[in-house]
Subunit: 410 residues, 4 copies
């Protein structure tokens, strides 16, 4: 058994665990140290630190405190790592917690987080997904079963001070263009009590908390990329900015589609990673690396029969946008949702499928002025019935008796 | 041998061929009629109608007349097709012209077309790709060879008048927000002599030409989607808007990456399609179809070992954008280009590879405010050498003696 | 267009074409010469030289003259090739003849050729398969459609005298153990008029014909391997035994299952190959090569959802055999045939599917005394209906109105 | 957490565990009962019950007591199962024991078990494979790493009395043809103390032990099929012969090649399965099922770039055999072993790779009289270096300093 370097007790608050943090800052002390070549296990909370329960009430999704996210395990110091190196991480395996074999997916309220289709799903909803060995299914979304494409939504190394300052400056500049917007244009550092700075205490903690970047966006170091293909078995090359690298990780997903379009978001779970670390000295300059690169896993679910939906950058109101892939992908997703309703799914169930199944989202065309074209690839083998079009019309396999719990805004 | 319904003589101008057109308009007469269930062949010009030559001079790319594009073969009338139906198209095969076994890829001048990375490659460049059976390689881009993922960049049915008007209105509204922009925000109808309206002649031709939508953007009917996976062997369900459907196609590509980021664009070629058509009556309403949907081919090149590059929506100047997938994908592409230079490629060669090889572009994260995350999947098996990172540093396999012809703006 | 080095006129007898031969002998003169690095096309007859017709009568299969097979195109001399080299062959493409877009599959009479299941199908039967672009279907076997996995059943270099003598000696030794057996244990050289020795004439021809090895079995040089995966796009390394190598090929198949269990056998067709040749000097010793090795194509049909049937080495009479994979595979095939009858197929149709579709045959266990275990992998996506087992029992999709023509022995 | 119905303590003898057995007999009492639809875990010994140790001495492989194998967990009774039903088993997951993350591979002495290449490797050898999350590597076989294709080598239902008698009769008939042969032609029932009949005790135990079929060969019920693709995630349909079905399983493999050619055999391990059972009533007759059928897992290692070796049914002495796939596959394996020595592997290391890596063994041609053709598919991505042929000759990546422990016969 590999050693578990960071342990997590789901019954206690992540704030009580000094090997957890929820902000990015170079002053956060290493939670532990390893040698290049070591392999070890790391346990993690779910990204909310246990705020969401395995029940049929979406009130917890509606009322989630997003100032707390994401609870990360780390930072792990790697001896000999120096700025400019690449930290090579082999994800040898990932799993759920043995006595907690379930995950959640949700849509945040537009007033508290929102999401990709928040205009269409403005209120909080939640679905619970049970794990059956390598597979998952949901009591709230019948007719689908997937093999897990298990991955960390968030993983990366500590920034140095210069990078942190660049992050904070550019995000504040964007935020300031529309400070009242809901959802906010960016989540800026806040020095309040929700910041968990690991072992850092007292004045040093307060100073770092006031500067510490939020964990929400992906950035140069990787971070919250939510790339479904960065799954167990993959090999990742991370830029190193500080001595010791300071690798942190969390936000495990049992399965997710490209875009993580439901925001809350994938099938979120607590769990553990088994990883191995090594160094590629001076790798950033040698290979011209600015953001992480990676090689995907040789073991991923083989769902390769697809029904593909197209979307273009004309929005729901018919307005033409210029090569906007975000809008094009939204249209492709809305097209797929509409299609799935013909087989008996509610729109919320269809949206939950797109957020949790290993759907692919491709940037298919970005030069044919003025329309971007995006495609959503829906794997057909995840359904218990045939969803291909046919001359005998769509069959309503579902009778609508099951729904995704909704918690209206208060 | 299936019958060839539309023939093309590459030695004569497409304007002399009445079964060719280059605008979308419901008044364009059917070039020919078929029955549901028929299969047949259709020949096509390359998208520019022969403007680009198999030589080592990019002047033709620089000087291309984009008012002419795209030359389409059709419209083909399908008996019994009515508005609201789905036209089911099986692409049984696609090939190049036997005595023209080559294609071209290019970057347009920023002043005449531009492209995805036009700020980085503002001048015209061109690479020629030779076809060797199912494979292609280029005398201008050494060290790579791909199996063709042959597909039509452009295929779809005629719009009805109402849809045409919607297109023209929304695109003009966008154009009018910045009419002087280069490249233009949209290419609007122009009634000049470059419009080829098929069999339509005289006054009727002039009227339709003045209204006919340009073929550049993808739209609800499909059209210029440039989806690499809509390849030979795929089955596509197209919305029908007019009696007879009016299916047209062209802009064949021997190979292309997601996004067609070089704009001129894929490996462009003249060739033929062998297709079969059938009808799914009333299918648009039955299945809730607004844009085409399709099932990909069972025969596509198996390039499934990837090196994946990430990009986030912070632009080259360090400016933060809000969930902008277009910018994120641009960063991922620039990261890949930078990486490939370490192995000896020029930046133009690396860009040409990303435009022509079956790279994937995924919308990996679009909810983690404010950064979108896009990934570029570079298939490693297309290279004659190993491009994975290693502790012994990158090897310059290429000596720089070969380059991509460039034609400076005059 | 690559040059066509060997042309074939399907309307004339292969015996009139000096670039065709149907025996292996080192004295057969090269039909033509090429340089290493050349690519070119080669046309071929179907393996029987046109004996089987596109009709609904199996009499031609029953009456086939097997002394004539296989008609090969070649030998092609490669300048500089010497014994001990490896001849590297890239199969760039393969196709059918444009005005002959069909192929045949058959079961030989037990009295004239037999086959893998000849005890179960002792009389001649034939099915015709039409090619629709990259796909094939049969008017005699409804409900299935496959993408072609096109390959040469037979390809290899000329043996030298020593190897030829070894072949003849060992095969005669086997034949002599039961000379009266029907089908024969081996097909030995016969110097009669059915031998086609290419350009070789007169006394030299007669002498070589009397010694020339039949083309039926695969041998050290490759030859009639009938390996479905040696398909277009693959790269093969052939042992070279004579100066110039002398590469010959033929017996094209549009599609075939592992084992080619119907013997007549795959979907047999006339057609052409586009290949490239190069040399790996001294490669046999360097790499320890005795039989050809190859790398499969990056473009093959993606039929990867299978229903798998097991078979063990207990024969139909219940007799136990010792680790006999041949018998185990026969049981797996018989199990699959029985299964398919539950969906409405006749046994002959089911057998034709196993012979022509890209089924896999795996040697699953060969050490668990006394039973070998073989598995037959039946791709489920080739069927127009669902063939998985289910609680609602098998549905007879076919009404038995279509059958495979049978020609009783006279 | 699913309930663990059968627990195993690796520190105690399997003979002390009443939920274990090592013979097939209808009188063995059910170890436990479940309902259709239940999912649960089952722990297993390794097939030898712990006889082989994690060390560098092959004496334990040489001296193994094969009368004891295989120790199976079960039989599990499924309520409502009746003869003629199909028992549907979903393998939801399989894993190793947490404090025993290693497995073994070995070649038995020709005098005690033998194996596929026992004439070439007549003495006992052993390699130990460590598990690193989803991957394995060996201190005795450098340069390779695989993702696990974890599967039970042995799984199936209890025979009824009639089937048991048929097994015993046919195997004895074979055995009697050469009773002195080493290795034996078949392993017959022996009533001695090595038989473990589960809960059955006293006279009843002795009677059943004297009749109980050995677990070595695969048979109609499945049993010791050693099919690598019957891996976690697959769905299997087993014939039911007795009331309650009586499902037993064991002989877990972390990874194995087609044929399990090393006999001792795969990477053998102790571990657990998480399975779900359900019934397809009357399924044997409905679907014509005689042997199990199955659908492979959607999650298997993607090793799909292969170097393929051919073999024909001419044996090492040059003797011609008639369509003998066993011999043809042996030649393909020997060819691959010879090839791998060129890169620095010992023959024993190469043999261990073929036995443990996910190599495929295909029955490529079985009708081309007199030679069968078999192919061995060696996945190239399991090697840390490039094993493709090239003009610069093979490189000896290994220096021969590491070897596979050998224990000479005493």
């Amino acid at each position: 058994m590999p050693e578990t370097l960071i342990k997590v007790d789901l019954a206690t608050s992540p704030y009580e665990n000094e090997r957890i943090h929820n902000r990015w800052h170079p002053d956060i002390p290493m939670a532990c140290w390893v040698e290049p070549g070591d392999d070890f296990r790391v346990e993690t909370y779910d990204w909310t630190g246990g705020q969401i329960k395995n029940d049929d009430d979406a009130a917890d999704v509606r009322d989630v405190d997003l100032n707390q996210v994401h609870f990360l395990s780390g930072p792990i110091g790697v001896k000999g790592a120096e700025p400019g190196d690449l930290l090579v991480v082999d994800i040898l395996d990932i799993g759920a917690v043995e006595n907690s074999l379930w995950g959640f997916n949700g849509f945040f309220s537009k007033n508290n987080g929102g999401g990709f289709l928040t205009e269409h799903f403005p209120e909080a909803q939640k679905s619970i997904w049970d794990f059956h060995g390598m597979f998952t299914s949901s009591r709230h979304v019948p007719g689908v079963k997937y093999a897990g494409l298990i991955h960390p939504g968030l993983i990366g190394c500590l920034p140095d001070r210069k990078m942190l300052e660049a992050w904070n400056a550019r995000e504040k500049a964007l935020f300031d263009t529309d400070p009242e917007r809901v959802p906010a244009l960016a989540t800026l550092p806040n020095g309040d009590e929700t910041a968990h700075m690991g072992k850092l205490k007292g004045e040093a903690r307060d100073k770092a908390a006031a500067e510490g970047a939020r964990t929400v966006p992906p950035r140069e170091h990787g971070g919250n990329c939510d790339i479904k293909d960065l799954s167990r078995g993959s090999k990742i090359y991370f830029p190193v900015y500080v001595d010791g690298a300071g690798l942190s990780m969390g936000d495990l997903h049992f399965s997710q589609g490209d875009g993580e379009i439901t925001f809350c978001g994938a099938i979120e779970m607590a769990g553990w990673l088994h990883i191995k670390v090594s160094l590629l000295k001076g790798g950033m300059a040698k290979y011209g690396i600015r953001n992480p690169i990676f090689r995907p896993s040789p073991i991923t679910p083989r769902y390769d029969d697809y029904l593909i939906f197209e979307g273009i950058s004309v929005d729901e109101a018919g307005k033409q946008h210029y090569l906007d892939v975000h809008i094009a992908y939204r249209q492709a997703c809305l097209n797929a949702i509409e299609y799935l309703t013909k087989f008996g799914y509610s729109r919320a169930q269809a949206y939950a499928i797109l957020g949790t199944a290993p759907v692919q989202g491709h940037i298919s065309g970005v030069v044919d002025i003025p329309n971007a074209c995006a495609t959503l690839w829906l794997p057909t083998d995840i359904f218990e019935f045939d969803i291909m079009p046919g001359s005998d019309g769509p069959t309503k396999f579902l009778d609508g008796s099951v729904s995704v719990p909704l918690a209206p805004d208060l």
